[in-house]
Amino acid sequence: MISGGLDSMLAARTIQEQGIHVEGINFFTGFCVEGHTHAIREKDKAKPKRNNSLWVAEQLGIKLHIVDVIEEYKNVLLNPKHGYGQHMNPCLDCKIFMVNKAKQWIVENDFDFIITGEVIGQRPMSQRKATMPIVARESGADDLLLRPLCAKNLPATLPEREGWVDREKLHDITGRSRKPQMAMAKDFGIDEYSQPAGGCCFLTDKYYSAKLVDLWKARDSREYELDDVMLLKVGRHIRPQPHYKLIIAREEGEGRFLEGYKKDYISMKCVSHQGPLVLIDGTIAAEDLYLAASITARYGQGREAEQVEINVLYQDGAERCLQVKPMLEQDIPKAWFI
């Protein structure tokens, strides 16, 4: 299982050193959106981020199979048996789910066992001594799950007992220190690697999690689609009323990204002055339009004007124009910002 970080890279390399054919597998949940902000925002387009799992696979000289698990992952996020971490991150259930998917994949593709870069004590929720057997058992991988970086601290797995893998050449790393991995990378001649430290999943992000919870609360439902997940990462989110919120592009790239959603959402844009594209998420009533338009006006170049003209575009192509006074910054309550 290749995450794109150093540990899984070292785990795969450790097994390759024993002359074993390794292929990588990586899962896309919809929340592994590390490169998305770069892809959207105009200022970052000159330096698009690489996909680290692909990069690692190329460094290792192995194939990489990226699997879309967006739909199946919903149940993991919505009903985590082992609960959430600090935010909306169901890390232990996520690990169990991914190892289970990897187990299914190796059976279908005639592989013999699974390697992960897990290290005992590395992560507070999913990589503890107590959780290692839980992941193996509840994923169904059992002793086909080999953790080369800390294998010597765990009972021997089937690949070790059968002699497919030489246990003596595996490792005994524990704890949160990165020094053993960095030393191992140096030994392998690996001098470039990413250090995501859990940051490759937006569910570990306090602000992202708050927006997700807000969305569920406003809709009175925890159902979500990939577009919801993406839009939470884009723009400034302001909720003046429980039944709708504004998603306001912060720059040109975000505006272009939001343009793609104009057929799915009511949108607003200032036409008398330069201003951002704004999507309205929710069911906005006619009496809410003026307030939404005055907030839209606040973020355009006409913010100091007495009155500006805001175009409202509906999903069916119908339009209307509103003359509004831009809202003053101090009049937008902080509680409206999600």
Binding site: E17, F28, R50, L54, I62
Partner: protein, 87 residues
Amino acid sequence: MTREVLNARRLLCPLPVIRTQDKVKKMQPGDQLEVICTDPGVMQDIPTWCRINGHKVLELLSGDHEYTVILEVGDDKLNKLPIDLTM
């Protein structure tokens, strides 16, 4: 040899790569695929994916906020990258 077009506009990486991967699985060696995207990340991610999976990038095009990768499907059975353990 057939040539197909994959519309991956509005998708952010790695989804264009996943859609490319899934499409290529159904194609034959020598077939060509034109992938049209709006995420500039594809300009490095799809070529990387092609290199590690034995497919050939024929052309990379960009303009008007769109990015197009044209690739030729390789023979999967021949795709065994040499493992350089001295890196």
